[in-house]
Amino acid sequence: MREGSLSRAALRAAAIVLALLLATLVMLAAHAPPLAAYANIVLGAVGSWDVAANVLVAWVPLLLATAGLLITFTAGLWNIGIEGQITLGAVFTTWMLRGLQASSVPPALILACAVVAGMVGGALWAMLAGALKTFGGVNEIFGGLGLNFVASALNLWLIFGPWKRPGVASMSGTVPFPPALWMVTVTPQSRLSISALVIALLGIGLVYGMLRGTHFGLRLKAVGRNEKAAYLLGVPTWQHMMFSFALCGIFAGLAGAIQVTSVYHRLIPSISSGYGYLGLMVAMLANFNAALAAPVALFFAALNVGSIQLPIVLRQDSSLAGVLQGTLVLFVLLAQGVRQKLTGKGAT
């Protein structure tokens, strides 16, 4: 076992080096200075308290999405529909805020209701994909993809239609909510909300504990690895699948709610910000391990935030961050394959 983990670490390191090498080649091909690029990404992510706070701001929804995805992955499901679930979370949150903002309900309560509404919205959308999967036999990847498109169209329609701002309906989104309905941030200028951070950490901790130490987590694992056997062993399988969808949806919806209440303070066209897809990558790179998810998500968030420096300082396109993330995950998958090939163990 020890030996195995050593060779695993060696291969992982090799994968990371190879990924960096490939990304470097890509940069050279684009006539970008690789060292300066890496340095700027690092500086852009940890160079000051402000940028570090920005990394944390990006970390929160990414971590929440990843936490949710770990649940569905455990149940053997590829919940690619998470983008739509984040969007619906944001839509429901906005809907609740719009409904209550003029009322006399205390702002804190409105905010709480809105966050809960977001969780419900995400869960409902996820359960739609779940119902299609469990009752209709529709593969969750394709059901989820379809629902993603529907969600983003719904979102656009709301922004440009029923919820358009009185002056100019715009890409800018709906009318911003009054500051009273913003999640309280560290300083008024900051976007970093301690409560959001706590929610995210609590979320991933919860998922970690649930998957590791509870009967529910174990049953979910059984369903994911062998649905038929799990059923024969007495696990109510479709209920568990639906439940895992719902839970993932809750996390996704929460991410959407935080996007609305603490980052953008309104509903915007691409409110999900690609966190769902990025979360899938994080989960893969973390090898579906909840304990690793937090640092990996932090790393990805840092890459995203750090890469902002590329166009500013080097006049390079910051999609380099995505290239880095992609090659990294790809090479880790390849390294895993090589290791399994060498040890003669099949893929699980």
């Binding site: 694992k221 038929k228 024969l232 062993l233 007495g234």
Partner: protein, 497 residues
């Protein structure tokens, strides 16, 4: 074609599957290969048919050393293998399945191939419609199709791996007649089986394998006891029958109807009492699996009533049946019974524990260790189940059974297990009976059915016989019933019921 194998060796990891086997088969001969599961029969045949390369040894065809690189290479050389589960394409039309693999131009001439298929089929009295779909065929018909296909490709050596497992008696007779006629035409037939009677009936000579080695050969007239000794290396003592003391009624079926994918079961009624063991016999796909799974609520009944201990459970799910003390053990252990990736301890927690949301790891490990000891499983609580051997996996399944059970349903409980494990498992099952559970099991092994059942239900093409007392039932009679003979006698009984 004369086939000769010279000191073939093949090792998988630490297991020596073939430890220097030499065998020579002349043309026009039907060579039987006998042996227990794991004796090395399949490996040897897969080496001959190009699936594996031997670590050592050589193959001679017509006296010439030949290296066979792949199954395709083998068929090119005239060696065709009929696998136990025919390697065909269920969603294809027969004609497509027939053509696939044959070399030729870009556009296969379907019409001509169809004609040739029909001509070949007629030669052996088979009836195959080229435009029908493969998945509508019985296993026997699929075998026929494979044989014709191999002949069409020019096979001169035909290897058959356990061909009689899934087919009906008339089909078996037809198959044997075909094989004899092929041998008469100069073909070399290698017939792999663990069924003594088939081998004795059909083969011109027999080679017996045991633990990867050639244990001996024999020629007719065969002495069954000698063959058995060669197969097992010792005389086999089978456990003594114990008569059951039937108790309260556990399972009752009333005029039950079931719709399977290919066959229907209608109007089945019977009753099972505590302590009873009921064996379900029949060719694979005759309806016994459907019935067994509907006794667990896994397959819906479309008519009648299913009762468990006086409760009407018709239409309820398996989990409702479970709560009534029903357990179902599938044949495919790792595919359906156990969860790869989970440890033994986790399996026990899964099947047992509900107390509170959190798992008490220490208690779970202790409980697992106790069960592992009781069931004599070779493995630790933290081992993943896929690391267990087949016999240990079966023990694991038994160990997972809840303490209080009223009805245990088993599919092929000892398939692929050695004699020792078989005896152990039946010992455990009988303990359960003594504690008041009833057992229904399916087995392809007629001896096992007769040995352990109190009553036997025979299935043929969706029909179920009345429950026959095992005592006084012979293997021959059972074999006939399975093959569809002698059912007239039941007509009166079913009419009365």
């Amino acid at each position: 074609m004369n086939v000769e194998l010279r000191s073939i060796r093949k090792t998988f990891g630490t297991i020596q599957a073939n430890a220097g086997i030499s065998l020579s088969v002349p043309s026009s001969c039907i060579q039987g290969i006998l042996g227990e599961n794991g004796a090395g029969k399949s490996t040897l045949m897969k080496i001959l048919s190009g699936f594996f390369h031997p670590d050592e040894g050589e193959i001679l065809l017509e006296g010439e050393r030949t290296i066979i690189t792949s199954p395709a290479d083998a068929i090119r050389l005239g060696i065709g293998m009929l696998h136990q589960d025919p390697l065909d394409f269920p969603p294809f039309r027969i004609i497509d399945d027939f053509i696939l693999g044959r070399k030729g131009g870009l556009f296969p001439d379907r019409r001509r191939a169809g004609k040739e298929l029909k001509a070949l089929a007629a030669q052996f009295g088979f009836d195959l419609d080229p435009d029908a779909w493969v998945d509508t065929l019985t296993v026997g018909e699929r075998q026929q199709l494979e044989i014709l296909r191999l002949l069409w490709l020019g096979a001169q050596v035909l290897i058959l791996d356990e061909p009689t497992t899934g087919i009906s008696q008339p089909q078996k007779e037809k198959l044997f007649a075909t094989l004899k006629s092929l041998a008469g035409q100069g073909m070399t037939i290698i017939f792999v089986s663990h069924k003594l009677e088939d081998v004795e009936f059909l083969c011109d000579r027999v080679a017996v394998l045991r633990q990867g080695q050639l244990a001996g050969t024999a020629a007719p007239p065969y002495q069954t006891s000698a063959l058995v000794r060669m197969m097992f290396g010792k005389d086999v003592a089978l456990g003594a029958r114990t008569a059951a003391q039937p108790g309260r009624s556990i399972l009752s079926l009333e005029a039950v109807g079931i719709d399977g994918a290919r066959l229907q079961i209608r109007d089945v009624s019977f009753r099972v009492c505590a302590g009873e063991v009921i064996g379900l016999a029949g060719m694979e796909g005759s309806g016994q699996s459907l019935l067994l799974s509907s006794c667990a609520g896994l397959t819906r009944t479309v008519a009648g009533h299913v009762g468990i201990t006086d409760c009407d459970m018709t239409g309820h799910s398996y989990h409702a049946f479970m709560r009534k003390g029903v357990a179902y053990l599938p044949a495919a252990r790792l595919e359906q019974g156990l969860v790869p990736g989970l440890s033994l301890a986790e399996h026990f927690v899964l099947s047992e524990g509900r107390g509170g949301p959190f798992i008490d790891r220490r208690a779970a490990a202790a409980a697992a260790r106790e069960r592992i000891d009781t069931y004599n499983i070779k493995g630790a609580p933290s081992h993943p189940v896929e690391a267990l051997s087949g016999g240990n996996q079966q023990r694991m399944l038994l160990a997972l059974l809840k303490k209080e059970l009223s009805l245990i349903l088993l599919e092929h409980p000892t398939r692929g297990l050695d004699i020792e494990s078989t005896l152990y498992i039946w010992g455990k099952l009988k303990e359960r009976c003594a504690q008041g559970a009833a057992i229904l099991f399916i087995s392809a092994d007629l001896d096992e059915v007769l040995q352990y059942s109190d009553r036997v239900l025979v299935f043929f093409a969706g029909r179920m016989s009345p429950a026959l007392p095992a005592e006084g039932l012979s293997v021959e009679r059972l074999g006939e019933l399975i093959g569809g003979k002698g059912w007239g006698a039941f007509a009166r009984e079913t009419a009365r019921a």
